[in-house]
Symmetry: C2
Subunit: 187 residues, 2 copies
Amino acid sequence: MRYRRDDVVACALRVLDDHGLADLTMRRLAQELGVRPSALYHHFRDKQTLLAAVADEILVRGARPLPDGPWEERVRSACHSLRDACLAWTDGAEVVATARAFRLGAAAPYDELTGVMTHGGVEPRLAGTAARTLLHFVLGHVLEEQAHRQAGSAGAIASDPTAGDHTADFDSGLAMILAGLGVRTGL
Amino acid sequence: MRYRRDDVVACALRVLDDHGLADLTMRRLAQELGVRPSALYHHFRDKQTLLAAVADEILVRGARPLPDGPWEERVRSACHSLRDACLAWTDGAEVVATARAFRLGAAAPYDELTGVMTHGGVEPRLAGTAARTLLHFVLGHVLEEQAHRQAGSAGAIASDPTAGDHTADFDSGLAMILAGLGVRTGL
DNA sequence: ACCTGAACACCGTTCAAGT
DNA sequence: ACCTGAACACCGTTCAAGT
């Protein structure tokens, strides 16, 4: 009796990946499910809530266990895991970032990061600031990478303007933030 | 003969600040200007281009000269200037971040940051990575602050959930990134 | 509980035609 | 050059009514 809701989310994920966030409308989704648009409002209060559920599902499907080791390595791994989870879906970062901004979901990465850091002995207040800083970086970086990718496929920009390896740049920025955290934590 | 375009941007800024980005529609803007919606397309190719012009105007109006001093202080000042420019308008960060993502404008902060750093002796490649990392942080931070503010005024959330001083948290995160950059640059 | 039918109040954009 | 009139192809959401 609860399986209908999950069907809607699964279908939304398919539409998202095939056509992008702009085409993920309530009407389009309903059509894909063979149902009237108004039927969707039996499962979700509004579109925002539905997108939050999609964001959570993106994170669940991309979840990876953290490796054992020093907390800095576990933080680095969690950030890579979040990046990969977002990159796995068209406009994935935008969906997750929006859900986070509206505080309707996507809380898992924040909780995971603060958990790893406080467990590693980082003072809670600093851990919170560091986690938010890391999340701004990760989501901002993937947002830019995906926006850039879709601009390229739209034909507005030929080839690669900033060029370069996105993963290497991500590693570099992440290392910078972790080094700064290390200074404040006595690494 | 060119003043009409600026009038449209000025009016858009007013609508944005009074009613938010969601209410800044082409039809609403046209109504406010006493013109038909189709007239706007004589001045801007589409809504995205208009919003990019609004983003640039937000940055121009919030521009501040950088202080003399070590480049680290100049970078810090530039980040605060960008934050204040975005905070000065309802949904300011979202407008600027979107324009940046679509590469339709809002390039000034990136150019300013990389300029300050390379002039200060930071290797160009590292300066680019640092500038993008800083921009992800600044815009992500303000985005969260403004989304949170509007959620509060919408009545969904009573008072302040994360509580705390946004400016202090901003300073803390910014200091962390700069410390990390210092490690890689031999500060 | 879950869905339909039908409506309400909107969107961005195009394009021939006017001045 | 700048704008109107009119249309096209859509949106999210609500709500009485059905089963």
